[in-house]
Symmetry: C2
């Protein structure tokens, strides 16, 4: 039997002794220092030799048996697995120079003023975890395979449906509501259910790139429609031939407009005439600061043409990946079948935790708290913009996580956004969300940044704006985004951006 | 100001006092007992009246403000929101008789011998939760939007790649590995990337319905190929015209066969000649009890035609919904773009927890423990089948979570499975996994059931088999599944079943 002296486990290594030991033994097998079939020292011997506990050695040996490097034999201890030779060469073959040069990235936090990021530090993680612990006590069924629930646990579907009926006036029974992996999955699944290649999708422009990507991926032809003070300016035209109309009526993305009642009724009429589906993305409706909430477009729809989409990414946290869609009765079955094929069902522990979180009222308390903070941040931001004399106008305020700020008419919002990025500010240009030329502007996310960070951001912005707009500081006539000077050309943009 | 007497909060109600109070107030608003604009009692008054703490009333009022039922006014307390009238009628309209009759279901546990269910009670949930707590201490970035990681957190991709290199001989660098929502999502995404309608997919028959559904959904033409003792019997034919070949070489699903080396090399050759992709689904390779693990098919592939798929549903727990796929370098970019469109990215907290769980070695310890239990259960089951004289033969044993049991040649496995189901046994017939006629058999899952439950299952099975096969108990010649009597016809089955 071989003695394995000649290496020590280092305290300074940052890895546990067990990890150090297993990786050292692997290296020895790979380098041929330990041959296939060779016997290893007993766990007691090696523990004494390395001055570690015997448990550490046992755990390391067992891990290597699990990985196929060692074999354990009753009464004769551990040997190097004969098959380990194969792994050895393969493992060496794959270790190329490229592996070493590709540095893994760590997830980071957004910098001001990245749009549509909630303040996840406000999220009551402790309360959430308490609900999680409680639902896990029910038994192991949340861990087990549950293919009967492709569109969500019934308890969650009930609580979300209740919330939508109460808060958004949505017409829905719980079995008409499906849980998805964020609203993006809802968009994707709908694009596959509702669209055939070449069909027309009308959508707001500027609008949400994630939706545009889903429709385009299904082969649809996107028809961009401009937005004015009342919302989408859909032509009232019998020859519209729309298969689908995508809108964000509560809070247009990214301009912030709330669609007027007249426009809502006209939209429903157009959809009826052209026999089109409407997808209502109610992504940001929870955040209203100065006015009372307005019921959803779906609540006005007698014909069940409106498909209602929402997400917990903004109201809870985006890393959760849970969203929902309210479907007309005749789509539910096909949606369910497709979700089964796409990924079986969504993670169960989070679903049950969310159901309990909604049930307890903790969700509503959290929303209230966010609303208060987000309102304050918006007000503070607007005050500071004014104080620093930054030439931006904000046509829509008083709601939402973002503010669209309009620039003087002949400004280049792309160039400005790049300049701001060089100062570590993440403020996308309005044109990045648009297909057609659009008034120059910037989209500011304010929710995720406290006053200190808002001020820092403003202080970085101010000199850049001062330099850029020094000459025309005097004239600040900034018309509404709908009234675009036709001489301007914005490049086409379809980059995926968070909403 | 109105007094709200006349209702008491019941201890026996099972809901918290706050929940009872909010729902009672909603009812009163909906029924018109509280009118739009009407002032509510102060929180102190109502608390005294109802004998609850003032915090309960404050919380209930705030929740109702959040939902739009009440308005709060500085110094003048709470009033019924004027917009609440709208919600009220809508809310009433949607409450139909159907809602009351559709009973929500609760997730349940599998009954013997449902295939491919791990024993989730063996899962070290406490250790998992400890890692979860630890990764959450890193800061809020795991809660935030992280669109830069559509195919998984880099730390997880690294640890899974390491595991696959070490344990399965998989050739991969971490950036070639993508995290998916279970292996089903990997199958779906691949079907969309690799297949055009009408193209041919060769797959093992019997085979995994989840894969068949994904290929069919993409419009592919499925060519079923029978399986013998060495694995898939692919014709060596230059005119194969396969776009994709789907196999489970380590442990054929559901027969259990391990593909021979000769067959593996032939398969790679065929794929090369016909320029086809191979998808290797290594779903169950971790569970080998009597022999040493064998490297993956992918490890033999010099041409990077093999796409390697796996899942943590069997090794950890299915409710987690995390799987992985190792992609040839030229597919990574397209796969990443598609995953972004499909659902942005997978849940982050679970990903980071899993990365830590792998890193710590807890994963390997858990695998070892499962292997020990699953091996014992398989042995015990086979002993009991023999002891009870049940006329089943098991061509492949010593590995996997399932066992395919062959019935006498002219038995009707579908009818038998239905009879077993009536005795609360969940044992699908082999023909349910097959497109072409296949030897009659049953697929038993053993991993999730301890000895007591296995024995109970056997005791329920025994009389049903005794009655059915009373006459031919004497002759038990059961040939290998590949040798099918051509006179038998099995109905076509494409039901989604867990693997």
């Amino acid at each position: 039997m071989k003695r394995l002296g000649g290496f020590a486990l280092e305290r300074s290594d940052g890895r546990s002794k067990q990890t150090q030991l297993t990786s050292r033994l692997k290296q020895m097998i790979q380098a041929g220092e330990l041959q296939a079939g060779e016997r290893l020292p007993s766990t007691r011997e090696l523990a004494n030799e390395l001055l570690v506990s015997r448990n550490t050695v046992v755990a390391a040996y067992e891990m290597l048996v699990g990985e196929g490097y060692l074999e354990s034999q009753l009464r004769s201890g551990f040997r190097v697995n004969k098959a380990a030779q194969a792994f050895r060469t393969l493992s060496q073959r794959t270790r190329t120079a490229r592996e070493r040069t590709l540095t893994p990235r760590l997830p980071g936090m957004p910098v001001p003023f990245r749009p549509t990021q909630p303040d996840v530090n406000l999220f009551p993680l402790q309360i959430w975890n308490r609900h999680r612990t409680r639902v896990l006590k029910r038994g192991a069924c949340l861990l087990q395979y549950q293919s009967r629930f492709p569109i969500g646990l019934d308890e969650l579907r009930q609580n979300v449906a209740q919330y939508l009926r109460d808060s958004r006036g949505v017409r829905c029974q719980w079995h008409e509501l499906a849980i998805t992996n964020g609203s993006q999955q809802a968009l994707f699944l709908l694009s596959h259910l509702l669209l055939r290649p070449g069909q027309r999708v009308y959508m707001e422009d500027p609008g949400y790139p994630g939706a545009r990507n889903a429709w385009s991926h299904a082969g649809a032809r996107i028809i961009p429609v401009s937005v004015d003070e009342e919302g989408i300016r859909l032509p009232v035209d019998d020859a519209l031939k729309a298969a689908l109309i995508y809108v964000t009526p509560s809070h247009q993305f990214p301009l912030g407009t709330c669609m007027s009642l007249a426009r809502r009724l006209a939209l429903l009429q157009v959809a009826r005439t052209s026999n089109a589906w409407i997808v209502e993305d109610d992504y940001d409706a929870e955040f209203r600061y100065t006015s009372t909430p307005q019921p959803s477009l779906q609540s006005l729809d007698e014909q069940r043409r409106v498909i209602y989409i929402g997400s917990f990414s903004k109201t809870l946290f985006p890393g959760l990946r849970l969203g929902y869609v309210v479907l007309p009765p005749d789509l539910i079955e096909r949606f369910t079948a497709l979700k089964s094929i796409v990924d079986d069902y969504s993670p169960l522990i989070d679903q049950a935790t969310l159901a309990a979180f909604l049930e307890s009222g903790a969700f509503y308390a959290h929303l209230r708290r966010c609303r208060r903070h987000y309102a304050e941040r918006q007000t503070f931001f607007l005050e500071q913009v004014k104080r620093y004399g930054i030439p931006l106008t904000f046509p829509v305020t008083g709601r939402g996580m973002n503010l669209a700020g309009m620039l003087p008419e002949n400004a280049n919002d792309r160039a400005l956004s790049i300049q701001l990025r060089n100062a570590e500010l993440d403020i996308p240009p309005l044109s990045r969300y648009a297909v057609e030329p659009v008034r120059p502007g910037l989209v500011f996310g304010l929710a995720a940044f406290d006053k200190r960070n808002i001020l820092k951001g403003i202080e970085k912005m101010a000199p850049i704006f001062a330099e850029k707009f020094a000459k025309r500081r005097g004239s600040r006539s900034v018309p509404h985004p709908a009234k675009i000077s036709s001489s301007r050309k914005a490049p086409l943009a379809t980059l995926p951006l968070s909403k």
